[in-house]
Amino acid sequence: MSKIIEIKKLRKVYGDGVELVALDDVDLTIEEGEVLSIVGPSGSGKSTLLNMIGLLDTPSNGEIWLKGQNISKASSKERARLRNKELGFIFQYHHLLPEFSAVENVMMPLLIAGVEKKEARHRAITLLEEVGLGDQLNNKPNQLSGGQNQRVAVARALAGHPSIVIGDEPTGNLDSKSSDMIYELLRKLNREMNQTFILVTHDMDMAEKTDRILRLVDGKIVCEMLRDGDKFVTRDLCKLDK
């Protein structure tokens, strides 16, 4: 396995007057094809870390390497290009474009990449069928349930064949049945396409299904657990008092 993401001494500080350290010298390496979960109390910096990896936000200090390219200082245009090519996002709220049908929403990352409408449509239909919405192609978000919309959002995140899929509490708004369904979907796709998944979650059941769990507290990774068969082994950096 090769490293897809390497984070070195990543620091994010908010505010000019009262400084708030959201990420405090984080070091992290993520392997290609890994399914990683990040847990931790609210306000611990999980979203901030994801937004950095997702190229939505820029670090105050430190470096992020994506596939061997230092992207910490990339231009806005280059970051947009990389977001389109390498990344897929799933947020707690589906963020579907309300005027567009399910299939049009899924087509969107491909259209942004400049793919032909017809080809994009074809790919979007395949994905929607895979997430079980083959019969809802032309429905708009307000005609679908919360779980269905989130499945459309999953299909959209995967449309552009990204190498990394980022989920910031992707099942946070869903009941446990829908949550399981979304997770199983992601896992299946991971096995099929060897995509890397980074998921922030409050749901420990879900976290325990992933390959590695990071625990973030006050902007620091305080604990790391690795899957070993059916169990997790704790790495030595785990501070159990936290």
Binding site: L56, R83, H95, L97, I112
Partner: protein, 386 residues
């Protein structure tokens, strides 16, 4: 194209805002088209009234000479100039007319009735009694109605024309005209031959009036005649104020009209601003999916451009129909001096339809620049938070 796809989707699904923006611009453009058609119509009416009595080119004798001597050759020369529509030679003189106890001095002009009519319409439009063409046969005169009143003479009666050094003669009143212009209505017209006989200076004339198909060719025609040594002047040099006042009028009207359109573009700016505010989260998501800043900017620019162009096309079509309808009403106004009521015309210049559609497009795109810029500068993380 992504930008067009998203922009069109907004336009089609946000019907209320679309109707509002297109309606505001459309109404402004329609108002402009109708006002400009009224302006064009008034100018044309003004032109018609003005040139009914005024020539496009006036030719006077060569410098230092009292008459145009070889006028027949000159007339042939003038007729050979392309675009010339009428050439009216005239021998003008003063005569004392008397009838019973009434004696009046008049401007008496010898003319060729058919040519005079082409230049002034006196032959048909302004004749109220008798016939201008009758002066062609022998000692006959056509008088303005003011002169008829002063002399207290009637159709068919004889007046005596005399003047020092001139040959006194009797003239039968063969026609009465009324133009509404004081000077003209006190004048007298006889045939060219009668006037030459009266003056006794031979086969000569004093000036030539020329009418041209396109009045704006007058300068060129005048220049060709001047080259022969005659004193030829176009209406543009004779009445420079005429065009100046038209230009001023056009400018001030257009200024008001462009302001109307500017106000309408504020409507678009407002709709676009609301759109950007409302779409903040979606812009954030578009950015997360990899839409770059220029693409975001283009989405909103294209959208306001389409709204403006739609308003422009709708407005010109609507304005054209309203103008055509008003024109068909043949609405008239009465001027105290005019012999006939003046018809208000609404003439749409096809160039306006294109020009104002494009202006609506351009102003709307300018109105969209700031909202589009604002959208493109959104921070995706903040935008996604809503």
């Amino acid at each position: 194209m992504l930008e067009l796809f998203v922009a069109m989707k907004h336009i089609r699904t946000r019907k209320r805002q679309t109707v509002l923006a297109v309606g505001a611009v459309g109404l402004a453009v329609a108002i402009i088209i109708v006002f400009r058609s009224l302006m064009n119509g008034s100018f044309e009416t003004f032109f018609d009234i003005f040139f009914e009595l005024a020539p496009h080119v006036l030719v006077l004798p060569k410098e230092g000479e009292e008459y145009i001597y070889l006028y027949k050759t000159l007339i042939e020369f003038i007729w050979a100039i392309p675009g010339v529509a009428a050439v009216s030679p005239a021998l003008s003189t003063t005569a004392t007319l008397s009838f019973e106890d009434n004696v009046e001095n008049v401007d008496m002009t010898g003319v060729v009735p058919a040519e005079l009519n082409k230049v002034t319409s006196i032959g048909d439009k302004y004749m109220i009694e008798g016939d201008l063409y009758a002066i062609q046969s022998g000692r006959r005169v056509a008088l303005g109605d003011k002169m008829i009143e002063k002399l207290e003479v009637q159709m068919g009666e004889d007046v005596v024309a005399s003047f020092p050094d001139a040959n006194t003669m009797n003239l039968v009143v063969a026609g009465v005209f009324r133009t509404g212009v004081e000077e003209w209505d006190q004048a007298a017209f006889v045939s060219l031959e009668t006037a030459q006989e009266f003056l006794g200076d031979g086969d000569v004339i004093t000036y030539i009036n020329i009418q041209i198909e396109d009045p704006y060719q007058a300068d060129e025609v005048a220049a060709e005649i001047s080259a022969l040594g005659y004193d030829a002047e176009s209406w543009r040099t004779m009445f420079p104020q005429f065009e100046e006042s038209l230009a001023f009028e056009t400018f001030s009207n257009n200024l008001i009209l462009v302001l109307v359109l500017l106000i309408a573009s504020f409507g678009i700016a407002n709709v676009m601003n609301m759109l950007v505010l409302e779409k903040t989260r979606e812009v954030g998501m578009l950015m997360a999916m990899g839409t770059n800043q220029s693409q975001i900017r283009r989405i909103f620019l294209i959208e306001s451009g389409i709204l403006g162009l739609a308003g422009g096309i709708f407005g010109t079509a609507f304005g054209y129909l309203v103008s055509a309808y008003f024109n068909s009403l043949q609405y008239t106004v009465n001027a105290p001096t005019a012999p006939q009521p003046i018809v208000i015309k609404f003439l749409v210049d096809p160039f306006d339809l294109i020009a104002f559609s494009l202006l609506a497009l351009i102003l709307s795109m300018i109105a969209g620049v700031y909202p589009a810029h604002k959208a493109s500068k959104l921070d995706p993380v903040v935008a996604l938070r809503g």
